[in-house]
């Protein structure tokens, strides 16, 4: 008796690559729809503690909404004499970078038909706090460097895994926001 075994297993990383492809085609034809605005509202609580929320955004030519309102608390740790009610803002930046790069790894892996089993990353932002404290004007406020280390288990060669991570950086919004200058216009309403 013959048994037929399916030999072609396609990677499934839970990324809807067909949607991404069709979106790309649609937005090539209709570039206006590609204009998105992302919004966050922030409210001071007390001390260095504040709460940010996001719910609505604009895209595809219309107002859009998240499934639910998401909120994030920002604060400073106790060693800065704060109450430590949430992550520091710079940790939120690192979290944003990590989320963006990891999403990219999954999408690129799907595109290249590479099955992922696990993906984890540790991020480290090095900072000389003399900058934010105004001790030394020559020290910048922000990170002097950001180091990201990925640990990935996938059906791929080490070079293919490195290429996933490299391509993810190339396509990442947050990587671009951090590595390139952006004009910031702050107004008081």
């Amino acid at each position: 008796m013959e048994t037929v075994t399916a030999t072609t297993a396609f990677a499934d990383n839970g990324v809807d690559i067909e949607f991404l492809r069709s979106a790309r085609e649609a937005l090539t034809a209709e570039p206006e729809g590609a204009k998105f605005s992302w919004r966050v509202t922030n409210t001071w609580v007390r001390g260095t503690h504040s709460r940010s929320t996001c719910k609505s955004f604009y895209g595809l030519g219309a107002e859009q909404s998240h499934r639910a309102e998401f909120s994030f608390h920002g604060d400073h740790p106790e060693l800065f004499s704060a109450e430590d009610n949430g992550a520091t803002p710079v940790e939120l930046v690192l979290a944003g970078l990590a989320s963006c790069l990891t999403a990219g790894v999954a999408a690129v892996a799907q595109q290249r038909d590479i099955q992922l089993r696990s993906v984890s990353a540790t991020l480290q932002g090095d900072m000389d706090v003399r900058g934010i404290l105004g001790v030394d004007a020559d020290v910048r406020n922000g990170f002097s460097a950001i180091r990201v280390t990925y640990t990935i288990d996938a059906d791929a060669t080490p070079d293919e895994v490195r290429a996933l991570v490299a391509q993810s950086q190339k396509r990442s919004a947050v990587f671009d926001i951090i590595t390139n200058p952006t004009n910031i216009i702050v107004a008081v309403a």
Binding site: S144, A145, D159, A163, Q169, T179, N180
Partner: protein, 414 residues
């Protein structure tokens, strides 16, 4: 007003190859050339040589017949070569008449030049891939103390002031300029974005031989995943020298060139800002190089060459310093010159036919536009990866002349 069947705009390698193919089919035509044959090759920088070896300068009905088959032509040699081709194929070139307008007219086209008007049923645009330099909008913020010029206006280091030079872009032009300017005693900072690293010689053969052999140069426009991206790919980091010397970011750093990330902007205060993406740009290029060399090795083994040629080797990873510079004060006086080696694009400001995309480039499928009888040839990855190479335009000319002949046949049936 004069009349012909086909007007070819431009008498460079693409126009000449097309001319030869039309002559073979006895299609009456003229080449309208703003200057002289091989015009785009005239007035180039002194040290420039082709990136492809001499044997790889095949054109329809013409090839290199000199003794130095593995060498790389200098610009005067390229001009002689193409003028020799124009003579050999008896190309009907009208020189010194720039096309100022192309429009539709009855069932054909009306072409206006600085020396007259032509009517033709078909037109082949072969006016070049590299007419205008790509200069970013923030170039205006470069302080006046720095002389800023596109690579197309650079001739040799002697025309530059002493002092530092910022070269923007690390394709073939950028790395070649960085090398020769650094050697002239002017310290160079090289701003590096996306780039394609390849060795000059691999396992005893020129890299262009390998790319030809394994089929990379013959890849078709409808075979690649993303043709828009493929057409934007920078040129290989290569240089043609009698020594067949290698050039890459490591050899440049050994010579003292300072690497920085992609130039992302210039502030109002004249501070150049470099992207923090340099480590990733180098990783991408190193990984891509390793994939290419692996593909070459596989091909060599499959074709029984493995034991006939030198052993495989891998280039050492690109060295990136711990903290590449993120800013450079252009107003401080150390940088005297900024050279934009950021590529060029075609100029179609004279083309008054609705075949241009929002970026001003011709919409086409492998050189065939939506407008019956209007073709383009000689632009990046037009039909094949080699479309802009002297060695590549011949196959495109054969395909497109075939399409053009069928179009003429269909007109005569009606």
């Amino acid at each position: 007003m004069r009349t012909t069947t086909t007007v070819i705009v431009g008498a460079g390698q693409a126009g000449l190859a097309m001319s030869r193919c039309l002559t073979e089919r006895a299609i009456d035509h003229v080449l309208l050339e703003r200057g002289e044959v091989a015009n785009a090759w005239r007035g180039r920088r002194d040290s420039l040589r082709l990136l492809t070896p001499n044997w790889q300068s095949r054109l329809p009905g013409y090839r290199y017949r000199g003794a130095d088959t593995d060498g790389y032509m200098t610009v005067p040699e390229v001009i002689d070569y193409l003028c020799g081709y124009a003579d050999a194929i008896d190309a009907p070139v009208e020189t010194h008449g720039a096309v100022t307008s192309l429009e539709t007219h009855c069932d054909g086209y009306l072409i206006t030049t600085t020396s007259g008007r032509w009517r033709a049923r078909t037109v082949v645009v072969a006016s070049g891939a590299y007419n205008l330099a790509n200069i970013p909008a923030f170039a205006d913020a470069v302080p006046a103390v720095v002389r800023s010029l596109p690579a197309t206006e650079y001739r040799n280091p002697g025309q530059l002031d002493g002092g530092g030079v910022l070269v923007v872009g690390a394709s073939a032009t950028g790395v070649q300029l960085a090398q020769e300017i650094q050697r002239s005693g002017r310290p160079v900072t090289l701003a590096v974005g996306g780039h394609v690293r390849v060795p000059r010689v691999y396992r005893g053969m020129d890299i262009m031989w390998w790319l030809d052999a394994i089929g990379v140069l013959d890849e078709h426009y409808d075979q690649v995943d993303d043709i828009v991206r493929a057409r934007r790919l920078p040129t290989f980091q290569l240089i043609g020298t009698p020594e067949r010397a290698a050039i890459d970011l490591n050899t440049l750093q050994d010579q003292g060139v300072q690497l920085a990330g992609r130039l992302a902007g210039v502030t109002d205060a004249g501070i150049a800002q470099f992207s923090g993406s340099l480590p990733n740009q180098c990783s991408l290029a190193d990984l891509k190089l390793r994939r290419l060399l692996t593909a070459i090795d596989t091909w060599a083994t499959d074709h029984g060459l493995h034991h006939e040629i030198p052993e495989p080797w891998r280039a050492s990873p690109t060295v990136v310093e711990e903290s590449p510079p993120l800013t450079l004060d252009l107003a401080a006086g150390t940088i005297k010159t900024l050279i934009w080696a950021t590529g060029c694009h075609p100029d179609y400001s004279w083309l008054h036919i609705p075949v241009l995309d929002p970026k001003g480039q011709i919409r086409h499928q492998g050189g065939v536009t939506d407008m019956p009888g209007l073709y383009v040839i000689g632009t990046k990855f037009l039909r094949r990866r080699k479309s802009t190479f002297i060695d590549g335009v011949g196959d495109d000319a054969r395909d497109l002349s075939n399409h053009l002949a069928q179009h003429l046949d269909s007109l005569s049936v009606h």
